[in-house]
Symmetry: C2
Subunit: 295 residues, 2 copies
């Protein structure tokens, strides 16, 4: 696979996601809410989750309209979670995606409301009047709701909140991150896969792939938090260390964390090989991207 072909696919996909989000996050929403939502979700971010949705959908010959809606829905959930996570009562962060955080820009009340509205919009985007089969709409809503709720992202945040300053073993740390970040990344893959016809074996393999890159993503995040500066990251560097949060680097050490990330990438590749799917090149290269990224 020529890396240039992959980069072209990434670029084209990101443009399409951006156009779709532009269309679905309305500027005209009342009393500045539209402006705040657009600030939070447009024009920045790595868009890893939408890329995973689209790559998985392509691997299973999935419907494009459904996949694009799923891609944008999962990004809306991700963007709302960042906006709420940055609030003073949570991480109290001022820099995100290279810009002032949402509450710094628009005030706390509007940031909370925009986050709430983005979560609702995610499910709105998944349930159009026409264009996506109703059964698929329901399945996508189910996958997204479970991944973002108490047993997924929100639950992971609650554990994170309760763990500040407490020693966590690797197992507890892995459980926290699986929920906080991993489950939504995995759901991105599965939402894409749900857009096409897929065997049970392939579904399980893609689920394993999603779990591996979900964990790898967090391990790399923890590595970057100590090895990169804020300018490269687009968010405040070193904040986990400063706030005495347990991380893979603090638990395993930097070298072992790096080795673990590579091991997870290999697991992801193996899961793709086991899937029996012919067209997993994008998913494979996305696994590399997750591990090799520098921000």
């Amino acid at each position: 696979m020529d890396a240039g072909v992959f980069e072209h696919w990434v670029k084209r996909s990101l443009q399409e996601v951006e156009l779709a989000l532009e269309a679905w996050v309305p500027e005209a929403a009342p009393a500045g809410l539209g402006e705040a939502m657009r600030y939070a979700v447009l024009g920045a971010g790595k868009r890893l989750r939408p890329l995973l949705v689209l790559a998985a959908a392509e691997a299973v010959g999935g419907e494009r309209e459904a996949a694009m809606r799923a891609a944008c829905a999962v990004e809306l959930i991700h963007a709302y979670s960042l906006a709420h996570d940055d609030m003073p009562c949570m991480d109290n962060d001022v820099l995100r995606r290279g810009k002032p955080t949402l509450h710094v820009q628009y005030g706390e009340a509007q940031a909370m409301l925009a986050g709430d509205a983005m979560q609702a919009l995610a499910f709105d985007v998944l349930t159009p009047d026409t264009g996506v089969a109703p059964a698929l709409q329901a399945r996508l809503c189910r996958l997204l709701a479970r991944a973002s709720g108490y047993d997924g992202m929100a639950g992971g945040q609650a554990i994170d909140l309760a763990s500040v300053g407490k020693p966590l073993g690797e197992r507890a740390l892995r459980d926290m991150h699986r929920r906080k970040t991993g489950v939504l990344l995995q759901a991105s893959v599965l939402m894409g896969a749900a857009c096409g016809d897929i065997s049970e074996t392939a579904w399980t393999s893609l689920s394993d792939y999603g779990a591996a890159i979900g964990l790898a993503f967090q391990v790399v995040d923890d590595i970057l938090d100590v090895t990169q500066d804020s300018e490269v990251l687009g968010k405040t560097a070193g904040k986990d260390q400063d706030s005495n949060k347990p991380t893979y680097v603090s638990v395993l050490g930097l070298d072992a964390a790096r080795a673990y990330a590579l091991q997870l990438r290999d697991q992801a590749h193996k899961a793709l090989a086991d899937s029996g799917l012919a067209d997993t090149a994008w998913l494979s290269l996305l696994a590399d991207k997750v591990v090799e990224r520098d921000n």
Copy 2:
């Protein structure tokens, strides 16, 4: 219709909703999140929205399982919105449903997270693996997402936020309340109606009914805010006046506001008569309840 029969139906329905919420809002959610969600949603509240869902579902011979899920989902959305609305950055309220507000009890971060998780749980409850037809699941998600997002509840909150201390005419006030409260009450009726077979005429009539009681609810809320004390209301009385928010009482005066509430109740009754549905007694009596309530 014997009022006792209605009260019996209300009591039985409330018990069933409580049991369903008990089952669907898990105590075991991580790091205290389950406890916080249960505090916010169990054991209190008028449960007007679930009653509207169930009454509308009975009027159209709707499926019970789907209707109960819709009833709980809409109550979860309502409860999350109250929890977020009470936060210091919004209304900064300390009393709700006769208890300390969620953030007073569990802290701001947990209150925000529990609200986020309740919104996700609403869509999770609507999309079970089995027991509700997938097309109905999709339709219920669509109705709920639109009613709670930027064009509904969250949008109304944003207008409310922007309107403090500003003079609003009756028209702008009505638009704010339609979004903030009315659209979700109306959606409760329509989600119940979606659980059965219903003609387009009946759907339009129930939509009109929902719009009328949605507005009546807010007019009565504004009346109670100035005529009742906090103990009866279970929340802080007089706060709209104190915070210089425009209300129906401040715009119309108390007597005209009372007359308007009665007029809206009559509109609701007329819509039911126009629906052609035979079994609208509960919906009719719920319209009375909305207008005659004292808290």
